[in-house]
Subunit: 477 residues, 2 copies
């Protein structure tokens, strides 16, 4: 039976490595305790065996799995495992590892030890990891490239991280449409292999302009004497290298693509975007989105320094503190009223919180609609109408509920009515803000998911306090 | 030059359709205004032309694009466009459309009109859309299937929506490992076509147990006389039909897969998981996660009924209201203190809000680590140590800052010190809760991303109020 790369198998490998590392630590600790150059021979042998076993285990693992294991290990264990990675695997593991792990390895292992590894990488992989390398090391690795590889490297780096040009590969198979299927098959056999995730061959003309593509299965199932011209699919999903990488996921998903040609403005073929790169970009964007919505600039290594953590979390906390200060000053204007009726202080967070919650619901739906739906001229108004209606209905329902709560607790009809009114008004404001903020951010070309929530919560907090305490001043004291 | 399915081209199609629909509405409105059976002949002609143009435009569009356009149209326009979809395209469009659009179409068009469309679907597609159909209609469509198709249908439905069995296809190409490359190529040619997203042929033994696979490129580049046995890759990433669909994304991404075999516990081949299904499942899961984190159970159609919206948003608002009521009662216990020092009411939301923000940051990092990292025995303690350290550092920094703010505004040293102390203590609590809540949810097998934020905000709110007002009672009044 075939052996399977499954999650279960990866787990077994991880447990095995954890066991070996545990033993590694014990042996190291024993060696230290003896604190002597006279280290027990048997123990040295044990240690050697242990290390050899670790190396053996790693050699049968996929590079991506080793990278995955490295990421989750504390610094000492990371180095112990990295030292046992076979030289022919080390390049792949380095490319597959996260940026944080790559920086860690470079700083621990040193430039001299990294150079041979970098020299084994092709230009595209080197460009991909270049950001994680110190400038000097990156320059030395570049200098070691051949001339053709250097121009590939330069080409890779001319695009932004968010652009398709950064994520595309420059490996593809192209054919001439005057050939037969047999000619193409012969060419492929001579070539001896295909680039990864090749599901079609690209048909170009003499000026290198893309004319269409032929799916591999078509080549397989046709008689070798068939001319390829009749097999060319001319309806092709294609990209510009300047397109946003994030937009590719939707297109790949909609048309069920495995790879798609990338062409410049004159229609010339400049690259190929493959589904694995699209999935990587999507994964990165989606995890970044989750972290950002919690107010973090980026992911944090479990073993990150205190300083790195502070820089990651500080800016968001500072912004929130400023908005909290302003809300606090809004309340401060009503201290006289609160002194007369302390119940207001206990009830006001309810008004603010229900506004924030409904506003965030509205905003999540608007952001999703902006991301997936077709833009049309009346969309903004339609969404506003819908959310205002729901805001009023919710405002009446929840307003009555919290009003009754206030009346039960404080036995004051007026307090209940003021509370209900403030909730209703704040939900209307939350609906307007929940629609307007993402639409405005989207209109000026900014990501509506980033930062919108702080702004909205600020508005519903400040307005919630202002409406409730203001109404109380007018009607109650 | 080849024509390209690009985002730009889709946008042109959409604008074209919007224009035709606009004209459609104008003509309908004119017909109504005349309120007569004597409708102007020229106008009727215009209307017919308009409809014909719409149909023509739709016929050159990809089914997925039409579904995408349908989703973004208001009910009337949706029906106008749907009526012009060609019968041979309608099935694909229906399958590609969202669940909400499918339900809408069925309820508007009626069972009788749906049956011929459903009869054109294969068993897998029918099973896929069955959830959106009324029971009776689904039973009638099932009855119309052939016996073999029926068993395929039953097979599809035996898995949960979250399991790989629900997302896999039952179409693949299998070969015998005693053949040559030429034999396989001949078989493929006789077959006449390959299932979508076929990047390999699967090698099975007589008992239908998977032995490995051969990538298509290997078949293309090898001499036809080569025996396939030598080409079989035995290291295969495979899945069980009972595995979680969400776990497949990571495996496809890690090993750059286009398709992977699905095998039962005895190693027998039961299906094939393709990258498009994995991307669909990922997209669904990730958008659901964003909506849930804002307190919505599911996505909402822009044209959803008020009742559907209320059911979608209500539960979360109700839970939040309960926690807000409890926090309000915590404050209520300190009304005497607030009466004596109304400044407390203005400052207390700052203590609560900074606790909530730092706690949510911690929680996002812990959830991400739970989702991506290798579990190891000391992880919980390591994370807690790290977050506690950061909590104390943040607590001292931000505590001093808000303390100084309070002193400047209210000119009371004691108030500033109480404020700083409360912030420090609340940040320690936020760090503990931010680590403990997701770990606890994860330990009992629940999704740590869902609902964790309400619980955390509740704790930091209630404790923030309690600590600040409690310290004030002890030290200030």
């Amino acid at each position: 039976m075939a052996s399977h790369h499954s999650e279960r198998r990866l787990a077994v490998s991880r447990d095995e490595i954890a066991r070996l590392l545990e033993r590694h630590r014990v042996l190291e600790a024993m060696a230290h305790q003896q604190e002597s150059p006279r280290r027990d021979l048997l123990e040295q042998l044990q240690h050697k065996q242990n290390v050899a076993e670790l190396g053996k285990r790693l050699r049968v693992m996929h590079a991506a799995d080793i990278a995955y294991v490295l990421e989750s290990l504390p610094p000492d264990d990371r180095l112990a495992v990295w030292r046992q990675v076979a030289p022919e695997q080390a390049g792949d593991v380095f490319v597959e590892a996260s940026d944080a792990v790559r920086r860690f390895l470079v700083s621990e292992v040193g430039d001299e030890a990294m150079l041979p590894l970098l020299a084994r990488l092709d230009a595209e992989d080197l460009a991909y990891v270049a950001e994680s390398l110190p400038e000097e090391l990156s320059a030395r690795a570049y200098a070691a490239l051949e001339a053709t590889q250097r121009s590939l490297f330069d080409d890779s780096l001319q695009y932004e991280r968010t652009q398709i040009g950064h994520h595309m590969t420059r490996e593809w198979v192209e054919v001439d449409d005057r050939q037969t299927v047999g000619d193409v098959l012969h060419m492929l056999r001579t070539r001896g292999g295909l680039p990864p995730q090749t599901d079609n061959v690209l048909v170009v003309d003499a000026r290198h302009v893309l004319r269409g593509l032929i799916p591999l299965p078509a080549l397989l199932v046709q008689d070798p004497r068939t001319p390829v011209a009749g097999l060319v699919t001319e309806e092709v999903a294609s990209f510009s290298p300047h397109d946003e990488a994030a937009s590719a996921f939707g297109v790949f998903e909609r048309y069920d693509l495995v790879s798609a040609p990338v062409i410049d403005e004159r229609g010339k073929l400049v690259g190929r975007l493959t589904v694995d790169a699209v999935m990587d970009a999507m994964r990165e964007a989606s995890s970044l989105q989750v972290l950002r919505s919690a107010g973090l600039n980026q992911d944090e290594d479990l073993f990150a320094s205190l300083w790195d953590s502070a820089r990651n979390r500080g800016p968001w906390l500072a912004i929130n503190l400023v908005t909290a200060f302003i809300s606090s000053r809004v309340i401060g204007q009503f201290e006289g009223v609160i002194q007369q009726l302390a119940a207001l202080a206990a009830l006001m967070p309810i008004v603010a919180s229900i506004g924030g919650n409904t506003g965030n619901q509205t905003m999540a739906l608007v952001i999703r609609s902006l991301a997936t739906d077709q833009p049309h001229p009346h969309r903004g108004r339609q969404m506003l109408n819908k959310e205002l209606t729901i805001g009023v209905v919710n405002g009446v329902t929840w307003g009555l509920l919290v009003g009754v709560f206030a009346i039960i607790i404080y036995a004051q009809l007026g307090l209940g009515l003021v509370m209900a009114g403030a909730v209703l008004l704040n939900l209307v404001i939350a609906a307007v803000a929940g629609v307007a903020i993402p639409l405005a951010l989207h209109a000026v070309g900014r990501d509506p998911a980033h930062g919108a929530s702080v702004l909205l919560t600020f508005i519903t907090d400040a307005m919630g306090f202002f409406l409730f305490l203001g109404l109380a001043r007018v009607f109650l004291v």
